[in-house]
Symmetry: none
DNA sequence: CATGAATGAGGCTTCATTCAT
DNA sequence: GATGAATGAAGCCTCATTCAT
């Protein structure tokens, strides 16, 4: 019944991500997206009836993946290390998140729901990081002379360190060293 | 009394910065800007004949300030410390820089010039950081088991660590500790 | 159990009427209609291959009912009274008729036919009213110092008098008095 | 300062009225309007930033005129007569009013204000009619065996009686007779 | 210079309608 | 027949930019 789909959500999300990374929120239109997908602009409206709905749905999807992976990370031997490796893999979340302030949060009820979900996920991320750090503080492997919030911010900010010429793995190793023991020789 | 309002270029830049910080590139319009300045939209065209010209001119201005301050920082006792303090003061440069990818660089010759200038200034920033780090490596106070680029990225990324509840000074102290010696207790 | 839903034409007309009364021509979409019927939008096209075809078919159907009832009314003791009672029952025809000007009459041959039929039915309505009035004029119970067209218009306009707090019957009685003997005490 | 206007509100209202009367709410677009006015579509947005704002502003303007004229009418020798004459002159208000249900009342704060104003004006119209009728009831020239609301509805509905081949004056005279003394000979 | 007016380009959305299963 | 998918045309709206005073 009905004819075969020419696009699916996976493709939609893939191209959405690419487009946002390349052109940011302002440059993200259904027009551009439809051209990349090779469908009519209006076709996309059959999937998401508002620009904001697609973007936020995608971002929720992305954050969910990250949070899921953080769970795994926190159970590893060296959770901080695992976290940094995760950052290496999802280097673009941070960039994606920067789009958030520009989203019209009242665009539709669906958008509102997604935005709420995003905040909760971010909350979860932050608290998972803190949990990891607290745990390590108790083992004496993380300093406690700096407020937890700042420590967490420090760990999260590492996601911003650009890849230079390294592989993802090299990047993670180098950054891990710095996060652990700083610039000092 | 009642004579035609004239635009004060200082105010122009101030409002430009505010507007970009509040709304990002997408939300930066001459319409909004003119309303804040209390002049007609078309008046701004007597100063900058293109949106991009204004934005890029402003960004060059901003970067020049930062670079100037970096010069001073690099001559201080503890240049890394001074740098972090600088980040505290210019916490928004990073956010400002994020609009760059969305600028149509071919918009006009003036824009092209400004964009070139910006790249050179960014270049300068990066190399100043590297110079500082190299200098410290020679004194043995900065590690050399991590590539210089990554070290520089690490220092720059600190600008992203959000203020929590601290003053600018507290923020700088805490972050400095982390940059210097990392998470380790 | 679970066999494909089929459209009931009676229901189709019912929902069409409701929708037009609630939302007017502008608010009448196959989208809304299909939702109310619980079928796919495209299914309606198996019955009416154009929006206009459905609307006009429905209106013909409605007018036919009214004309039929007018026949009965004109054979009653007091035909004017019966007419006003009829208006009470079909208070919405007038509202329905107001969508006519917006219909694209050339939309399809079927539409053209329906539109013609509608005009003939309206013609018939008008002339039935006139017949009734002429008959009464001959009995001396209706004035002849006002052109027949205006008299007919007067009777038809009564359909517009809104229900206030009365039942349909009360409305008809009150309006009948006014139509018969006017405002005068 | 600034260049000379090419359209003014008067023209805008005139063409708005014509367009609505010809094509109804659904057929009223800024595109059609701009074509008639010989300006670009976007120009109209400099005057009214939403379709609904223009329509409702116009309707308020129209009702205000009518209400003003009703004041004059109620002070005349035969207020009911004057009212019917007024209906002759503003035969289109009723048609215009039918557009109301389709207006998105939440379209903008300005729209909301206008809609409120419209309701108040309609309220005023109705109560002015009632005042007139009450006054006449006290003089014994209007019946009191029919509820006031119905009487008022009866008077208002007269606006719907179509012109046949008469002048405005003839129409008013004929309709006045009917309103006063009904169909009876 | 400052301004108010006009405009075009470009993005957003909604539907009627067609297609393939 | 019934359906879900795809589409194009049409209307909405917002700006950057230009023009004439």
């Amino acid at each position: 019944m009905g004819r075969a789909k020419t696009i699916d959500e996976v493709q939609l999300f893939q191209e959405t991500e690419k487009l946002i990374l390349e052109s940011g929120y302002a440059g993200f239109h259904f027009k551009a997206l439809s051209e990349r997908l090779g469908v009519a602009r209006s076709t996309i409206y059959n999937y998401y009836s508002k620009k904001e709905e697609l973007i936020t749905a995608f971002m929720v999807h992305l954050l969910e993946q990250v949070v899921e992976n953080m769970d795994r990370a926190s159970r590893s031997d060296d959770p901080v290390h695992a976290l940094i490796q995760l950052w290496g893999r999802y280097a673009n979340i941070h960039q994606m998140m920067q789009v958030m302030p520009y989203i019209d949060k009242e665009a539709s009820p669906k958008v509102q729901k997604s935005v709420e979900a995003m905040f909760q996920l971010l909350q979860k991320m932050r608290s998972k990081i803190k949990d990891i750090l607290i745990e390590e503080q108790q083992h004496g492997s993380v300093r406690d002379d700096v407020p937890l919030d700042t420590l967490a911010g420090f760990v999260m900010s590492a996601v911003q360190i650009p890849y230079r010429h390294q592989s993802e793995e090299e990047w993670a190793e180098e950054v891990y060293k710095l996060i652990r023991s700083g610039l000092s020789a």
